[in-house]
């Protein structure tokens, strides 16, 4: 008996049946192949083709011609990815364990930034024109930790007051956090005003070095360093401590964790603390890197969303991958897009997201729901 022997029924009804399993599988890989081609072209373009006389003008030259520019762009991408990771890892941690989409994540970022700035100004004793030289490492780290702790406590309070008892109602929780962020944003505008503020890097990290003839700032490397330390700490916490194991187990099967005698409510609270703390750390770092102003909250909520959607919701590994991809596209697209079109880079960046999702609807490391 063979497939062709009695296709009369199916033939009439629909042509779809002519597809063999193999050809169906082949159909499914088409998007993957397309993405592969796009990536291959992008790599080829950056490495060899950009800014040649026979291609269009780009602001950075082909990597083999201008390795310095390439390296700087690469570092830009990586260091920015570091900051993205710190912020997004908190978001994804909370989502992973509790399925709570914390739409107040950006507001927490901004609040920590403001608190940090305020404290730093107090510590330095100056409210404006603070120079890096006046800022000791202490006067940077303490505001960062205090700012992060403040929002971490706020996060736990929000979770305990508003979210704890409607666990599992993800839309409702998302809206509650939206409401919190609306109130926070409005009150922050009142308390901290509308002007952009900035936290100042400590003098010890503000210096520059040369790589392949290009100047590069140590502060960016410092930021990447913090991100790596945060990443390692998170990894150690999740993989080498009992609490971390409980959290990972909770991501897999929360009910079973409870059946093993573990008080998940406490674990939830701690996770919310850590997740908000990371948002706060990111806030202080972001305020040093790019400043803080009304609207920064929404921007960083969005950044976090994009990173975790690319990487896969709830996955720390995904947050790393999402940050790196997002950071790279952010850095490379203005540099290697044709010069006349660099202002489309932000669309291009978001387009990456669409492409990733076309191939993997749950993100790079996301699990199917």
């Amino acid at each position: 008996m063979s497939g062709e022997a009695s296709t009369d029924v199916a033939d009439i009804k629909f042509g779809m049946l002519h597809l063999t399993p193999r050809s169906l599988r082949a159909l499914r890989v088409i998007p993957t192949i397309m993405v592969g081609l796009i990536v291959a072209f992008a790599v080829l373009w950056i490495l060899f083709l950009a800014d040649r006389s026979w291609t269009v003008k780009t602001s950075a030259g082909a990597a083999i011609e201008e390795p310095g520019e390439f390296l700087v762009t690469l570092l830009d991408g990586l260091t920015f990815a570091g900051l993205l990771f710190v912020v997004a890892s908190g978001f994804t941690l909370i989502f992973g364990l509790m399925r709570t989409v914390n739409m107040a994540h950006g507001a927490m970022f901004l609040l920590a930034a403001y608190v940090g700035i305020q404290l730093q100004q107090t510590m330095v004793g100056k409210s404006r024109n603070i120079e890096s030289a006046e800022v000791s490492m202490f006067a940077w780290v303490v505001p960062l930790l205090v700012g992060a702790t403040v929002v971490a406590v706020l996060g736990v309070v929000m979770q305990q007051l508003f979210l704890r008892w409607n666990q599992g109602q993800d839309l409702r929780q998302a809206i509650i956090t939206i409401a919190v962020s609306v109130v926070l944003a409005d009150q922050m505008l009142l308390q901290f005003g509308g002007l952009a503020k900035k936290m100042v890097w400590p003098g010890s990290v503000v210096h520059f070095f040369e790589i392949l003839g290009q100047r590069y700032a140590f502060s960016r490397i410092f930021m990447l360093g913090i991100a790596i330390v945060v990443g390692i700490a998170l990894w150690l916490w999740l993989n080498k401590t009992r609490m971390g194991m409980v959290i990972r187990a909770g991501v897999d099967d929360e009910e079973m964790v409870r059946a093993l005698g573990i008080n998940v409510a406490v674990v939830f609270g701690i996770t919310f603390f850590v997740g908000s703390f990371l948002a706060g750390m990111g806030g202080a770092m972001g305020a040093s890197f790019a400043g803080a102003a009304p609207g920064t909250d929404g921007q960083w909520l969005l950044n976090s969303l994009i990173v975790v959607i690319i990487g896969g919701l709830g996955s720390i590994k995904g947050a790393v991958a999402g940050s790196v991809l997002f950071g790279m596209v952010t850095a490379f697209s203005p540099a290697y897009l044709p010069s006349a079109y660099t202002f489309y880079s932000i669309i291009f960046t978001l387009g990456t997201l669409a492409i990733v999702l076309a191939v993997r609807p749950n993100g790079l490391f996301g699990r199917a729901e």
Partner: protein
């Protein structure tokens, strides 16, 4: 009864409008007891209610002398009711070692520590670094048992432990149950595999439509084909 470990009185529970457990009662001491019954009779619902995942609509559950109905699952577990769920429900993200390590806190000096579990199941020790999803069915069940043992509880509740296991593994499991009872842990097994059920415990409670229909012994149940047909739908 002074040595009563678990006592269930007139338990009613269900999902929304549909009542699955209806006025279910039984009592057990420090022993092995099997609840047998066909699929769909409410066995798993009973487990979930005992563990606190489902709130009973009526009735009482007394465990170790105090009421546990209405408590949260983690508090019930901490009172000493350990649960081995149907389908094992291991954590795919955790290795064998991590499954045990995560519960190791406070086990020092108690009967069951991770080391003792590895001693009981040497097979697991070989697979320490494997993820929960990479184990065979038997190994998974061993890990699920080991995980429950670390609670050092008074009663272990097993939901369909023999499901999907090779007969030799089931034998190991039966042995473990006997050993646990010898060492002073009560075991409540919910089972539909008659062989496994009758080998694990002498007391057999037959569950039909959310109630304990009759209580019998493993010998009676194994020998009485009518009983099997009537309550278990097994036509031998």
């Amino acid at each position: 009864m002074s040595d009563s470990v678990l006592r269930v009185d007139g338990l009613c529970a269900g999902y929304g409008a549909s009542q699955v457990l209806e006025n279910l009662s039984f009592e057990m001491g420090q022993e092995a007891v099997c609840i047998v019954g066909r699929n769909g009779m409410g066995k798993t619902t009973l487990c979930k209610t005992l563990m606190g995942f489902l709130q009973p609509s009526a009735g009482a559950i007394t465990f170790g002398g105090s009421r546990i109905d209405g408590l949260s699952p983690d508090r019930i577990a901490r009172r000493g009711l350990a649960y081995i769920p149907q389908g094992r429900r291991l954590f795919p993200s955790l290795t064998v070692d991590e499954h045990l390590e995560m519960l190791a806190k406070g086990t020092r000096g108690k009967r069951w520590t991770p080391a003792a579990v590895y001693e009981l199941f040497p097979r697991l020790a070989e697979r320490r670094q494997n993820g929960g999803a990479e184990l065979s069915g038997g190994e998974q069940q061993m890990l699920a048992v080991g995980r429950a043992l670390l609670l050092n509880g008074k009663l272990i509740l097993m939901d369909e432990p023999s499901e999907g296991l090779a007969p030799t593994i089931v034998d190991t499991l039966i042995e473990v149950v006997h050993r646990l009872v010898e060492e002073g842990t009560a075991v409540l097994v919910v089972e539909q595999n008659l062989r496994a059920a009758t080998s694990m415990a002498t007391r057999q409670l037959v569950m039909v439509s959310g109630q304990i229909e009759i209580e019998t012994t493993s010998h009676e149940l194994s020998d009485d084909a009518d009983l099997q047909r009537q309550y278990l739908g097994v036509d031998a």
